[in-house]
């Protein structure tokens, strides 16, 4: 077998996600009354990028076979924080951005510490920390309000050279600066190893704790970037409970659509990004086909179910029925 075939096999989930997204996006564009133009791409990108950041964050944790149910709340908390801090003189704005991202990473680090040293199940630990983060968000913004530096906000949500969506460029930069180095580092490999078989990872002397801690921390950072962008889009902060929870659940859906195995050890954040974009496109498709937006949750559910069923075909090959139960 040629080298590229192995590489392709390893990244199959990611390619599937890209294919699903492209298919849906092409259907969307070709049925759009205005056709393909820069404004439509910009709008689609701005809607998709928020979920993409949160899905990336979730993907990191899921790769270690964990799950982060506080991710939507970190997103909400950093949104509220940004609506206080990212304003004023350019220096204040810069400091504000740094503080917001730091708080996001800190939230993730706390999750990691609780999971590793508290030896709690990720699902329980992050429900609890998520509630705490939401509590803080509510204290920061009991009612929606605040403001954000509009020049920065418009620059990051507008178009570069008149046609490239700036938010998409920001996403690309984050992938290049955070995901690529992580996935190729020793720690990143350890994260995959832990997710694939923690016992084997231990026997091989892999730095398990470090891998988990850094993974959760980076997940918090990415959710923080998402929260920052939410502020840039809305110009305000809001401790919205329903929206925070929806982002958590959608991030898990995107991760699954993106070919990241919930059992851990397989998939990539790139796949999760395309999973998120595909998930967002469902709503747009309903729009161009003149469906009532009320149908959106139903269709999202159907698409998710189909995608998950595709990846469950492997179960048919299992020869020992006990392996069904992992």
């Amino acid at each position: 077998m040629k080298d590229w075939r192995f590489w392709f096999a390893e990244q199959r989930g990611t390619f599937m996600a890209i294919a699903i997204f492209l298919m849906m996006f092409v259907i969307y564009i070709s049925n759009h009354p205005a056709g393909f133009n820069a404004n439509i791409v910009q709008t689609a990108s701005n809607k998709g990028v928020l979920l993409a950041f949160v899905a990336m964050a979730q993907a990191l944790v899921v790769i270690t076979s964990g799950i982060d149910l506080s991710i939507g709340m970190i997103f909400t908390l950093t949104n509220c924080l940004a609506s206080w801090l990212v304003t004023g003189s350019p220096l204040q704005v810069a400091i504000g951005v740094v503080v917001v991202l730091f708080v996001g990473a800190l939230c993730g680090a706390i999750n990691g510490a609780v999971v590793i040293y508290g030896r709690l199940q990720p699902i329980v630990a992050t429900i609890a920390t998520g509630a705490i983060y939401y509590g803080i968000a509510l204290a920061l913004r009991p009612t929606p309000g605040g403001t954000v530096d509009e020049i920065l906000a418009d620059a990051l949500t507008g178009k570069l050279f008149g046609f490239i969506p700036a938010s998409l460029v920001a996403l690309l930069v984050v992938v290049l600066v955070v995901w690529i180095p992580f996935s190729r580092s020793v720690t990143g490999r350890a994260a995959y190893a832990v997710g694939s078989s923690e016992q084997a990872a231990f026997m091989s002397g892999v730095p398990i704790k470090r891998a988990k801690f850094i993974t959760y921390t980076l997940a918090g950072l990415l959710a923080g970037i998402g929260g920052l962008f939410l502020t840039f889009f809305t110009y305000t902060g809001e401790a919205a409970y329903a929206s925070g929870n929806a982002y958590t659940l959608f991030s898990i859906a995107s991760v699954v659509l993106g070919g990241v195995s919930l059992m851990g050890g397989r998939g990539s954040a790139i796949g999760a990004i395309f999973g998120a974009l595909a998930f967002r496109t469902i709503g747009d498709l309903l729009f161009v086909f003149d469906f009532d937006p009320l149908w959106q949750p139903l269709f999202q559910g159907v698409v998710l179910l189909l995608a998950v069923s595709l990846s469950a075909f492997g179960l048919l090959r299992i020869r020992n029925r006990l392996e069904w139960f992992g």
């Binding site: 390893e10 190729r184 580092s185 026997m203």
Partner: protein, 510 residues
């Protein structure tokens, strides 16, 4: 002289798991440039010994000295750093990573903080070549490789760490003959390079070919270390047995010549490469033992009969009629009446946090319910019968099963299946980790069930049990029935010899 002192020395090392002593005041010396083989029966303490040296578990007492200095390893990683590398039985590979990733997992080459994949691939290819496994592509995912290739990756991974002490635990059990030849050549070269090797195997001819010295373990104790070739096979087997034989078994009935239809008959049962053309038949009232080394297909055979494995070929006949059993639900149904006492009671036998009563009822819910509602009076009566029959010691039927002792838990597992009044009872090493008293009660119970008409297949890793309980014993090796022993033929000596698949005549008459 370089070889004037041992590289690693263990002194009076003990390890207990709960109440069970796995290793008792063991001592051992490992020298550079020699291959040291460890022999012993199932449960003799070999794996515990390795785990102690490799840093997986810590000793309760005693010292481990490396280069004359006392060491204690907190983790396998610490042992690796000290130059001790262990090849486990397919335990340490990460299925979703590539071969190259796995080989270099503990210390991948990096550039600017990122893994240098080109360099990593070169290193991995070198290690594969060193192990004689150039046919494995370094980019293939480990989970896509067959077992024998994975084992070769495991060996390459160990070699890539350039160890001073290399431990091989049954490392050849999954390999093809051609691979074994290659690996032996590699091991001999490593020995001449001055590496110390610790080799654990059940295969006597491998030991004869490789060993410089051998140590026999039995019941967690070191029995003897001797120079390779200084003992005959018979003497080695004697060393491995050497136990006092205590009569704790009920008398076996005199075998009547039974011409009735067998309750259970299997013809040419095969499954993947783990079971090969197995044929056997069990009569009413008969206890058939499954012998052989651990992992020769005994467990798979029981699972296949119980409908857990998919894609089995061959025929299963119950009372002479061919049946196809597709699931445990079907296996336990009235017209088949099968029960499987699983090996791991904690995961496959019991719901630990639930009560004794609930656990007892699970397999027999259809017997004690009407129209989907559990008849609690009937449940109470039947569970109490079982508790009395097996003398389960529990203060209350509503106590969580997890709070009972191991022996009593195992009784609950057995009682749970007896509630169904099974006609065919499969037992998968049911006495592992339970106390002698309970064991004895179980032996009596098994004979009683057989006398009442059950057909029993009994897999045990304890040869005494096979000798004491079984009317016939089938010895499995590599998924095949290699020998059938009847009545007086069932002796420990013959069991061990046929389990190791060594020439019978030599052992018996040498």
């Amino acid at each position: 002289m370089i070889n004037s002192s041992p590289l690693l020395r263990m002194e009076g090392v003990s390890k207990r798991y709960g109440g069970v002593r796995a290793l008792e005041k063991a001592s051992l010396e490992i020298w550079p440039g020699r291959i040291h083989c460890i022999l012993g029966e199932n449960g003799a303490g070999k794996s515990t010994l390795i785990k102690l040296i490799a840093g997986v578990v810590a000793p309760d007492e005693g010292h481990i000295l490396l280069d004359g200095k006392a060491v204690s390893f907190a983790s396998p990683a610490a042992a690796n750093e000290a130059g001790i590398v262990c090849i486990f039985q397919e335990l340490s590979l990460i299925p979703d990573l590539s071969v190259a990733d796995n080989i270099m997992i503990s210390d991948p080459p990096t550039r600017a903080g990122m893994i240098d994949r080109k360099q990593q691939r070169i290193c991995a290819e070198e290690a594969l070549a060193q192990a004689g496994a150039e046919d494995i592509h370094p980019l293939a995912l480990v989970k896509d490789l067959p077992l024998s290739r994975r084992q070769m990756v495991e060996i390459a991974k160990a070699l890539a760490r350039k160890p001073r002490i290399l431990i091989l635990d049954e490392a050849t059990s999954a390999l093809t003959a051609a691979d074994v030849t290659k690996i032996f050549a590699v091991l001999k070269r490593l020995r001449s390079d001055g590496m110390a090797l610790l080799y654990i195997s059940h295969r006597m001819h491998e030991i004869a070919e490789l060993a410089d010295e051998c140590t026999v373990f039995r019941n967690g104790q070191k029995i003897e270390t001797y120079k390779a070739g200084s003992k005959t096979n018979t003497e080695v087997v004697e060393l491995m047995i050497g136990r006092e034989y205590k009569n704790v078994f009920p008398p076996k009935p005199v075998k009547k010549s039974d011409t009735k239809l067998p309750t259970l008959q299997i013809i040419n049962l095969s499954w993947t490469d783990r079971l090969r053309d197995i044929s056997l038949s069990v009569q009413r009232g008969e206890i058939i033992g499954l012998g052989g080394l651990d992992g020769q297909g005994q467990r798979d055979l029981l699972l296949a009969l119980f409908g857990v494995l998919r894609g089995c070929s061959g025929q299963v006949l119950i009372d002479g009629a061919a049946v196809k059993i597709n699931s445990p639900t079907m296996a336990k149904s009235e017209n088949i009446g099968m029960a499987l006492i699983p090996e791991d009671r904690k995961t496959e036998g019991l719901m630990l946090p639930m009560s004794v009563r609930d656990n007892l009822s699970f397999a027999a819910l259809h017997r004690i319910s009407k129209g989907g509602i559990v008849d609690s009076a009937r449940e109470q009566k039947l569970t109490q019968e079982m508790i009395n029959l097996l003398a389960i010691k529990t203060a209350n039927v509503d106590l969580a099963v997890g709070s009972l002792s191991g022996g009593n838990q195992q009784k609950v597992v057995i009682a749970k299946w007896l509630m169904n009044k099974p006609r065919i009872i499969l037992l998968n090493d049911p006495t592992r980790g339970i106390d002698v008293g309970t064991k004895q009660e179980l032996y009596v119970l098994l004979r009683k069930l057989a006398d009442e008409g059950a057909a029993i297949i009994f897999y045990s890793t304890d040869y005494d049990e096979l000798i004491g309980c079984c009317d016939r014993v089938l010895v499995l090796y590599d998924g095949k029935v290699t020998r059938e022993l009847v009545g007086a033929e069932i002796t420990e000596r013959v069991l061990i010899a046929s389990a190791l698949n060594i020439d019978m005549e030599k052992v018996v008459h040498a």
